[in-house]
C-alpha cells in the first residue's frame, strides 16, 4: 500500500468542487468560504475574491442581496444579485450581465454572501439601502453600460497615447 495521508488542497474556485460542496455545507447550517471566478458580478465581485456564503436559515432573500444558487440551465452554482422579488419568486442577475438568470423559487437559493475578501482585506457586504440601490442599478443594466463605456474610453485613451 502506498502513502495514505489526506492531502490538503486548495479549491481555487474550481466550479465542480464549489457546486458539489456548497449545498452540502450550507445544509449543515455552516458558512461556506470559497474563491469566486468569473466577471459576471464586476465591479462588486472580481475574479479571485474570496466570498463567504451563509445559509438563509428561514429568512428570505431581499432585493440587493448577493445570493448563491444552482443555475437552472447549467446546474452549476452561481453568485448573482437578487434584483427583484415578484409573486414570491426571486429574479437574479449578475451586475455585469445584460440578462437575468430567470425567476427562482426560495428553495433554489442556497444562501447569501455576507463577507468578501480582496487582497487580504475584508470588504463589507451590506443588506441595507446600498444593496437595494445596487439591485436597482443592476436591474436597469446601468452598471454594465457604464463599465463597458469606461473600458471603451480607457481603451481609446490608451490607443491615443
Amino acid at each position: 500500500m502506498d502513502k495514505t495521508s489526506p492531502s490538503r488542497v486548495r479549491a481555487g474556485g474550481d466550479l465542480p468542487l464549489v457546486t458539489g460542496l456548497m449545498p452540502a455545507v450550507l445544509e449543515k447550517g455552516r458558512p461556506f468560504r470559497f474563491e469566486a471566478r468569473g466577471t459576471s458580478m464586476e465591479p462588486f465581485i472580481v475574479d479571485g475574491d474570496i466570498l463567504t456564503v451563509v445559509p438563509l436559515a428561514g429568512s428570505r432573500p431581499r432585493p440587493g442581496d448577493v445570493a448563491a444558487f444552482v443555475h437552472p440551465a447549467s446546474g452549476g452554482v452561481r453568485v448573482h444579485r437578487v434584483v427583484k422579488v415578484e409573486d414570491g419568486r426571486y429574479v437574479l442577475k449578475g451586475d455585469n450581465a445584460l440578462d437575468a438568470d430567470g425567476a427562482l423559487s426560495r428553495d433554489q437559493i442556497l444562501g447569501v454572501v455576507v463577507r468578501l475578501e480582496r487582497g487580504g482585506r475584508v470588504r463589507p457586504v451590506g443588506r441595507g439601502l446600498g444593496a437595494a440601490l445596487r439591485a436597482r442599478l443592476s436591474r436597469s443594466a446601468l452598471v454594465v453600460r457604464l463599465t463597458r463605456r469606461a473600458r471603451r474610453l480607457a481603451g481609446a485613451r490608451k490607443d491615443r497615447c
Binding site: 495514505t4 489526506p6 488542497v9 468542487l17 460542496l21 456548497m22 455545507v25
Partner: protein
C-alpha cells in the same frame, strides 16, 4: 496528542465533515472550526486512502477492515494494519472520523 487506535472498535465519518466524491476523487471538508472553507481546509485522499475511507462505516471493527484490505491488496496484514492505523491517527487528529463503538 495522538489518540490510541483500537482495532476492535468501529470508526466512521464525523458529523463535522462533508464528504463528496467529485470527478472520481474523495474530497473532505472539515467543519469542526465552524465553517466549510474550501480555500484553506479541503482534503483529498489517494486511491488507497479512499479504499480505507469507504470501509469506515461506523459498524465494522477496524480489524475486519484490515483483513479485507490485506486480501484486496494481497499484502501482509501487519503492513496493512500499519497503513490503516497511520491514516486513522491523522483523520482522528483532524476530527474527520470518530470512534463509533
Amino acid at each position: 496528542m495522538c489518540q490510541e487506535i483500537d482495532l476492535s472498535k468501529a470508526y466512521g465519518p464525523s458529523e463535522d465533515v462533508v464528504v463528496r466524491e467529485i470527478e472520481g476523487e474523495i474530497v473532505i471538508v472539515p467543519l469542526a472550526s465552524g465553517i466549510g472553507d474550501i480555500e484553506d481546509e479541503l482534503y483529498t485522499l489517494n486511491e488507497t486512502g479512499r479504499d480505507i475511507w469507504t470501509r469506515l462505516d461506523g459498524a465494522k471493527p477496524l480489524a475486519a477492515v484490515v483483513r479485507e484490505l490485506a486480501e484486496a491488496y494481497d499484502a501482509p496484514a501487519g503492513q496493512v494494519e500499519g497503513d490503516v492505523v497511520g491514516l486513522l491517527e491523522e483523520l482522528l487528529v483532524r476530527r474527520m472520523i470518530v470512534e463509533k463503538g
